[in-house]
Amino acid sequence: MSEYILMLIFLPLVFAITILFNSVRVRNIATYLFVTFLVVISIRLFLFNTIIELSFNHMVHTIFIVIDFILMGYFFYQGIKYKDKLIGIFAVIQLVLFVVFLQFSHTLISQDILVDKVSLVMLLVVNIIGGIIILYSLQYIQSEEFKACKKNLFISILFFFIGVMNLIVTTNNIEIFFLAFELTTLCSYILIRFRNDELSIINARRALWMNQIGGVAILLSLLSGVYYYDTIYYDTLIQNIDGLFLLPISLLVIAAFVKGASIPFDKWLLGAMVAPTPVSAILHSATMVKIAPYLILKISPAFSPTISLAVIFFGTFVFMSASLLALGKDFFKEILGLSTIALLALMMAIASIGTPEAINICLILIVFHAISKALLFLQAGVLEKVYHLKYLQDIDYLASRSKLLVFFIVVGFASLALPPFGAFIGKFASIELVASLVRENIFYIFPLLFILIGSVFLTLLYFKVLTKLIAQDNKVYETISIPWTYKFTSFILVGLLFFGVYISYVYNFMSHLEIIVAAFLILLTFALLYMLKFKNIKRVSTYNCAEKDSVILSAYYFHIANKYKELIVYISIFIMVIVVYLGII
């Protein structure tokens, strides 16, 4: 099995280089074949469901260290080139810390690669959802005005990203984890500035220095781990750690907050919107931000009860605040982005509980959030490319223009908020779980409050957006055909969502009755919409109290005053400081 893992990690990197200089046709066919290959391998690994261990030899380790240095040097160069002090300073700090780290040796040795159940699920998410998004971007990138070579480069980087993600979710060595973490930072930096205009570069630089903070946190964690506990491996660290000194763990938590774009680090993910839409899709669903809940899942066994409580406070608080902030946004992708930030924070909160039940809930949330968000971002891309729409206030009467597109968006939002879809099951189970914790410790009442209010805000948000799409008028619009690649990939994702309902039925994520009832209601709605045409009934135009004025659609916006935004940032920074503090005492 171990060769499968190596294939998943290194073949995408090799493939990324080979497609650089091919014609569009060859590139597309090769990409379809290779994505199928990745998907098949990850599914096979998942079905075998064994624990896989392997280690790299000394040579590979040395190469990794060299790459580390090259990366930090590159970041430092970027800092100099754009005269960006933050990037430069963080690069220097990383360099110094890394050199100091290399002076230490450690005696507790473990495996470099350790694949358990959580990793297998993550591999599925990365390869299947990531693969689908790459297929989508084959079409998308053709509609951009880049040189042919740069278009190939785009696809290459996406594959590279997938390979790095496969490494990050399987490695057990924190040093390799740091390398992969920096490589994802590099990928996101290149992808965000892909358009190479002023705004892209500014946003990419912001993403870079924020993610560098995560890198610094990991290096500090490495240093304290090797100094106090004589190890750089997750499993030995968790086994040997002393509950009274958890600094290595709490620093990793900070790294997770950075990658998960939790407030106050939310700016980098929102800034990533300037890149071509598949970039947002892949950042939000399959890669990058999903590192955050994964990392928390990985280290939560070492949490002390107080750290766990602090992370839950942080996660649920960000969940509520991000949902609230999303209510005031108009840019379609920004709304999706803030809802991602909210849900990621929820995942981190649940992951930090660390019981087997909590781990399952977190995995359910990770998987289904990935599918739904991928679906929604693909539609955001279609809206931009085919209909030239970006802002919520412009997308009136979409239902009169393209029923299919509205169907995809409705399924996307419904699958995040309504039963019987997976993301709902995750949220439902989280409420149950936290409610059961309230019985043990009354402090959990506040996380519960945050989750409830946050999920109501999110529901309000999703349906506020839908309201704009679903209204119909009687005008005749010219029909614009959507390219089949867009439809094909979206249908696969919708299929996966419904397959997820079947899986949750088989594995009893909710009781059978509960799933059947909700699935019946949802399917009945689609069936009725499709079948009931009321041919014999007279149509009238709206009564509208006989007012003749034309109707302009609008939705509520919630203006959130700046002082509240600042308050939210201060509170989350405060909780973060507490997390680190709890690691020291």
Binding site: F428, L449, T467, I537, R539, V540
Partner: protein, 272 residues
């Protein structure tokens, strides 16, 4: 027996609605319509020529009714309370979508307000469920119903629940979602004839839903159940008759602020 209850739920709802109109009339010193007036209205609507705007509008209304009925059915069968609340949320969402699917200002305003009112009452509804869960370590309505009345332990949550009843039943002072004089019934405005009947019937079932959740506070005692139902029924109508409508923003603020404080306080009391 349960199936019969579910089947007859709209009839009971209609009767409560009819009774309500009588009670309200008496409070205003009027004679009022007969108790069966809602059913006469129903019968009359059947005779009207059907008009419609588009099929989305009608299908979402049908789904609103269906889902609400299913929610009531689940309560009667004693399913998971938290799940029932989310199915009820789904039904409200269908109503909102119905309101938006036509191109009419009043309908849209009604839907917008419906969404805002969801923000106001939904957290409190879930907190009520959590309160029961903490006492009984289960969300199952069957188990909650087999206990003795839990009003003494959950008195603040009970009050919070009373606060949201007028929102769901569209009673003053919390009836901004419908507001006949102002936005002509909100979502209802574009429905007519036989299609309006769907919404009319859904309204009756909403009565059954809200009052059946209320009866959970009575536990296994029929006497308490009757007492609670009658007194709340009277209280809601009394308040409806004696207050004026407030704005939707105030509705959200008041219910969230008071309701959530009461709920949290109650849960903290349970914990210590």
């Amino acid at each position: 027996m349960e199936y019969l209850l579910i089947l007859l739920a709209p009839i009971f709802g209609g009767l409560i609605y009819g009774m309500e109109r009588v009670v309200r009339a008496r409070m205003q010193n009027r004679v009022g319509p007969p108790i069966l007036q809602p059913f006469y209205d129903m019968y009359k609507l059947f005779g009207k020529e059907p008009f419609m705007i588009n099929n989305y509008h009608i299908v979402f209304a049908i789904m609103h009714l269906m889902t609400l009925w299913v929610a009531v059915g689940l309560v009667i069968f004693g399913a998971n309370l938290l799940y029932v609340i989310f199915i009820h949320l789904l039904s409200s969402i269908f109503l909102v979508l119905a309101g938006y699917s036509v191109n009419s200002v009043y309908s849209h305003i009604g839907s917008n307000r419906e969404l805002l009112s969801i923000v106001a009452y939904e957290p409190i509804l879930i907190f009520v469920a959590v309160g029961f869960y903490i006492l009984n370590s289960s969300f199952d309505i069957d188990i909650i119903r087999s206990q003795v009345s839990q009003v003494p332990q959950l008195v603040l949550l009970f009050l919070a629940f009373l606060l949201i009843i007028p929102i769901k039943l569209k009673k003053s002072p919390f009836d901004a979602t419908e507001a006949h004089q102002e936005i002509v019934g909100g979502v209802e405005v574009e429905f007519s004839g036989v299609f309006f009947e769907i919404l009319y019937m859904a309204k009756w079932i909403e009565y059954i839903f809200i009052y059946s959740i209320l009866l959970l506070f009575a536990g296994d005692s029929f006497l308490y159940g009757g007492l609670i139902f009658l007194s709340v029924f009277f209280l809601v109508n009394l308040i409806d008759n004696s207050t004026a409508r407030i704005k939707i923003e105030h509705l959200v603020k008041i219910t969230l602020f008071i309701g959530l404080s009461l709920s949290v306080l109650n849960l903290v009391m349970l914990g210590v």
